[in-house]
């Protein structure tokens, strides 16, 4: 592990206390770090805890949920300890965020221009005029050729791809050091997805941002990320570089995911489906959380959950599985 860390999450647990006394352990002991300028992908099927991890970093967890334990070091401070007021200076300024459905994040009653100007005035202490000029510049950067007119438009007047670009303009407006993108292109068609991912990549290089890219699409990860973390049952089960993950995957879940994916490059008769379904966060199996679906399950797997350990001499391949202990 080399280089300095921009974000370091350790022992993060975020639980939801359900009505029937059950506890949904949405995030249950997650450790990872992100270096400046790096793109790290967090992948997993729905319900694995990706969004709750990112919302925890932004401290946007509401009742009945709670950050139960752990630290989130960002810029030398533990975000877990910050007050709500202190957090508003981090959110949108040092950490930008893009969501899957931009309509939930854009305010429908304000123009696109107003929303960028507002962010710039609040976080960058710009005057209204400075903010306006900067907003036009930002819209041009994210690919609105008629930026002056786009400033006056409302979110509903834009297509899905344009809204996502407007979201990116807002997210990068204050030169964040970290951009969290939660399924930024899942709702978009492939040709528009390619536009948006290329734009994010360009912005990342231009402003030297780090990106936490949350997605369930392994193709997107292979093309845009430097490192990848695979999440299952509220925990990271494998973490490594893109090359190692796609060339020498180790965790049975990762291997299963890769085999279940139809691809344009290779032709297979049958897809290697993983049996069963993702367990809900309030009812994980005892022992390894993948044990009831794992083709390699051994008797000890059903007794205790394995811990995540380093398996690579270069210290860049962590796996949570007894096969590698």
């Amino acid at each position: 592990m080399s280089g300095m860390k921009l974000l370091e999450v350790s022992g993060l647990k975020t639980y939801f206390y359900l009505d029937n006394k059950a506890v949904a352990k949405a995030v249950d002991g997650v450790d990872f770090y992100i270096r400046p300028g790096e793109t790290v992908a967090l992948v997993g099927e729905s319900g694995s805890g990706k969004s709750i991890t990112s919302l925890s970093i932004m401290k946007l967890i509401n009742k009945p949920g709670k950050i139960q334990d752990g630290q989130i070091y960002f810029g030398g401070k533990d975000l877990v300890e910050l007050t709500d007021k202190q957090m508003t200076n981090v959110r949108g300024k040092d950490i930008g965020m893009i969501f899957q459905e931009p309509m939930t994040a854009l305010n429908p009653v304000f123009t696109i221009g107003n929303q960028i100007i507002e962010t710039l005035i609040r976080h960058k202490k710009m005057t209204k005029n400075e903010a306006k000029l900067r907003a036009i510049e930002l819209l041009k950067v994210v690919g609105f050729p008629r930026a002056e007119e786009t400033m006056k438009e409302y979110p509903h007047q834009l297509s899905g791809g344009m809204r996502q670009r407007a979201m990116i303009a807002i997210a990068i407006s204050c030169d964040p050091k970290l951009l969290i993108a939660d399924e930024p292109t899942t709702a978009l068609d492939v040709t528009i997805q390619a536009q948006i991912l290329d734009l994010m990549d360009e912005m990342k290089k231009k402003f030297n941002m780090a990106v936490l890219l949350i997605t369930h699409d392994l193709g997107v990860v292979a093309e845009y990320a430097d490192r990848i973390m695979v999440m299952y049952g509220g925990q990271i089960v494998e973490e490594t570089t893109i090359e190692k993950l796609f060339l020498t995957p180790k965790h049975p879940y990762t291997i299963g995911l890769l085999e279940s994916l139809p691809s344009l490059e290779k032709e297979v008769d049958r897809l290697g489906a993983i049996k069963g379904t993702v367990p809900p966060a309030h009812r994980f199996p005892v022992g390894c959380r993948f044990s009831d679906r794992c083709p390699k399950v051994m008797s000890k797997c059903r007794d205790a959950n394995p811990s995540i350990i380093e398996t690579d001499p270069e210290e860049s391949h962590r796996v949570r599985c007894y096969l590698y202990e």
């Binding site: 492939v190 796609f246 299963g256 279940s260 344009l264 897809l271």
Partner: protein, 336 residues
């Protein structure tokens, strides 16, 4: 010679289960105080295609390109604005309900969102038995036997028939929709994004199941999806739609190995690949899909096409055969 005639000529020995000729579906746009029709959404705009018995014909295209509308029109769940639909040598375009009813047994549809298409108040056995009660004279015991056997075929247990849709996961609900679609032993099934809402591990289970059922029951599929890898996996031939029209249609291998239409080329290049050793060059298209209520003149793709030239805004390119079973609608290939 029309496209269909050409195709028929090439595959004279071919057995078509369904043929669609020059299908249009326009939705009126109402406006003003008097709610006059002020324009039309041209959801499907002159589509001709034929489906071979036993094959899987994939339909891909971006959101709003008219895939679902085409599927609904082909099954007469909606009436076309123009065109002709021939199912097993019978013209069903204007067929009345009574006459259509027995034919309906042979054509079924599976939707993307099984939650919206399964009545939440009905148990699994009621859902599966309903078509049997309406369409057959099976006894109660025979219906039960059929239900249990179908559930087992789609990988559910016979006890599951007492449960309700909300008690199942997304993948299991899709299995129920598939069982329901198969109750009347259909010949032709339209699958409208049947796996799009599912996680990849579950998507693979359902795709494998659909392939098994196709073999076992000799089904013909029209498989609609926007995921090009999924369509490649399941289809024999693939049609690419853009703004209500077919841009290209070809046997799977030709379409994926040598795409001809600039839109197909861009679409394929944009699919993110997990093959990290062979990075491909992306064609990034500018702009969004134009509105189907006001499609560009000439070629519908010309506003985003990297190869656009003068003729493209003037003349609409017709779908033309350029290789065996490989048809494309683009002036680059029809000029010669």
């Amino acid at each position: 010679m029309s496209v269909i005639e050409k195709e028929t000529r090439i595959h004279t020995d071919q057995d078509y289960i369904l043929q669609a000729n020059n299908i249009k579906k326009y939705f009126p746009i109402k406006g003003g105080i008097l709610k006059h029709t002020i324009g039309h959404v041209k959801a499907v705009d002159d589509v001709s295609l034929s489906v071979l018995r036993g094959e899987t014909l994939g339909i891909v295209g971006e959101s709003g390109s008219g895939k679902s509308t085409l599927g609904r029109v082909l099954l007469r769940l909606m009436d076309p604005t123009a065109g002709q639909i021939v199912f097993e040598d019978q013209d069903i375009t204007k067929m009345k309900y009574r006459k259509l009813r027995p034919i309906r047994r042979d054509m079924q549809i599976v939707f993307q969102d099984p939650f919206a298409s399964l009545n939440p108040k009905m148990s699994v056995s009621e859902l599966i038995e309903e078509p049997l009660i309406v369409q057959t004279s099976l006894t109660k015991a025979e219906r039960k036997e059929k239900t249990v056997s179908l559930l087992e075929k789609v990988g559910l247990r016979s006890e599951d028939r007492f449960k309700y849709p909300h008690e199942f996961s997304g993948g299991q609900r899709q299995r129920i929709s598939i069982a329901r679609a198969l109750t009347l032993n259909p010949k032709f099934v339209i699958c409208d994004e049947p796996v799009s809402a599912l996680d990849v591990s579950i998507q693979a289970q359902v795709l494998n199941l659909m392939a098994d059922l196709q073999d076992e029951f000799n089904l013909t599929y029209l498989f609609i999806a926007h995921d090009l890898s999924v369509v490649k996996h399941i289809s024999d031939r693939v049609a690419v739609m853009y703004l209500g029209r077919i841009a290209e249609i070809a046997p799977k291998k030709n379409l994926y190995d040598t795409p001809l239409h600039p839109y197909t080329q861009a679409l394929l290049s944009a699919v993110p690949s997990t093959d990290i050793l062979h990075k491909k060059e992306k064609i990034i298209l500018k702009g969004d899909l134009p509105s189907p209520s006001d499609p560009p003149s000439g070629c519908a793709f010309r506003t985003r096409c990297p190869m656009v030239h003068d003729k493209c805004s003037e003349v609409r390119p017709e779908l033309t055969e350029v290789g065996s079973g490989h048809l494309v609608a683009c002036h680059l290939y029809t000029n010669k």
